[in-house]
């Protein structure tokens, strides 16, 4: 069954419904048409329902414009500051990673107790190089050990950075939750 898609009397019906005067201001012929025409009948039902609901919100207290403006301004500044600080975050992360890598290298290369511990390890596992210095490691390690070393080094570098970024994200979230709600 093909249903009608429009009716030439729609506009007439809607004009009266929109001013909440249906059916009082409609003449008998239009009322009779709306009763018989499925398009106009549905229009009356739907439009009347919307008009009926339209005035429901008239008394609703909305946030003041100054509150909405203030909150938008605060948030815009926060967003802008966050964007501006991204390169600095990256620089901080790199600095932390560099310091961590240097510390590990110095510790492994220079500490006497670390060398003694390494010699003990060599006694247990003769395949390891006898001296634990960066040079001997570079000279003697096989490619497989380099891969393992690279993985460990990456882990040592990335872990502090990950902690650092996670802490920053937590701080951001904490600050956001402290923002004032609207004074409604």
């Amino acid at each position: 069954m093909t249903l009608a898609r429009s009716c030439p009397r729609e506009a007439d019906v809607l004009d009266i419904v929109a001013i909440e005067q249906w059916p009082d201001r409609a003449d008998a012929e239009l009322r009779s048409h709306a009763d018989d025409c499925p398009v106009c009948s549905d229009l009356v039902v739907a439009a009347s329902a919307m008009v009926e609901l339209r005035d429901e919100h008239a008394q609703r207290a909305l946030p003041d414009a100054s509150v909405v403006w203030y909150r938008a301004e605060v948030r815009a500044r926060e967003d802008a500051a966050r964007q501006a600080s991204r390169p600095m975050l990256a620089a901080h992360g790199l600095a932390v990673a560099a310091v961590t890598a240097l510390s590990v290298a110095w510790w492994a290369d220079g500490a006497a107790w670390a060398r003694a511990w390494w010699r003990g390890l060599v006694g247990l596992w003769p395949g390891l190089p006898a001296e634990v210095s960066l040079q001997t490691v570079a000279d003697t390690l096989s490619p497989a050990w380099w891969l393992i070393g690279a993985a460990v080094a990456a882990w040592l570098v990335l872990l502090p950075v990950a902690f650092y970024l996670a802490r920053l994200a937590d701080t951001d979230a904490g600050e956001k939750s402290l923002l004032p709600r609207a004074r409604e």
């Binding site: 106009c40 439009a47 919307m50 008239a58 946030p63 403006w69 802008a80 600080s85």
Partner: protein, 193 residues
């Protein structure tokens, strides 16, 4: 690197942050106040009808104005700004609808669309207004938006098309279907009460 160097870098970073924090918004406060007073109630009612949740409508209202103020779009006059605002609000309401559907445990109505719908009936039993709310709750968000924009706000088909992101030529047919569906849900045929 000395402490002085570190201090200098921090000062530069702070200066960059301060410069970026001097943000530009789409309009000044005075213009915004006027625009808000002319559009807020209409927008809130629209959002409330779409979401069926007054609290959510409050949040989406704030978010809509924020996104409008921060948008990069060149807004050509009040009418364009208003349509763009309603477009933002429509998208936000649809996002909220999708999130609600993704959390079925928190959905109260059986089709997951409108929290007001069944809550009203279960609390109060049959009533004309509540029945209407329930019927609206059964409609799809786009159907609610179409009916509200067309008959509560008197928007033209072109305006509705812009707000909902559909072709203007489709609005008539979509409206016809939405009307038919609402009338059917209300169980009303025949225009004379």
């Amino acid at each position: 690197m000395t402490l002085r160097h570190v201090t200098t870098i921090d000062a530069r970073a702070q200066a960059a942050i301060d410069a970026a924090a001097d943000v530009t918004l789409q309009m000044d406060e005075e213009s915004f106040r006027g625009f808000y007073s002319r559009t807020a109630r209409m927008l809130w009612a629209y959002l409330e009808r779409l979401t069926g949740d007054g609290q959510l409508a409050d949040d989406l209202l704030q978010e809509s104005y924020y996104r409008l103020l921060r948008s990069d779009v060149t807004l050509d006059g009040e009418i364009h700004s208003r349509r763009y605002l309603f477009r933002i609000a429509t998208n936000l309401a649809h996002d909220a609808y999708r999130r609600r559907r993704a959390r079925p445990a928190l959905v109260s109505s059986d089709d997951g669309e409108h929290p007001r719908a069944d809550r009203d009936l279960s609390a109060h039993g049959y009533d004309g207004r509540l029945d209407l709310n329930r019927a609206l709750g059964r409609l799809r968000p786009r159907e609610r938006a179409l009916l509200w924009l067309a008959y509560a706000q008197g928007a033209t088909h072109r305006e509705i098309a812009e707000v909902l992101g559909v072709r203007p030529a489709s609005v008539k047919v979509l409206l016809l279907r939405a009307r038919r569906r609402l009338a059917s849900l209300l169980g009303r045929r025949g225009a004379t009460p």
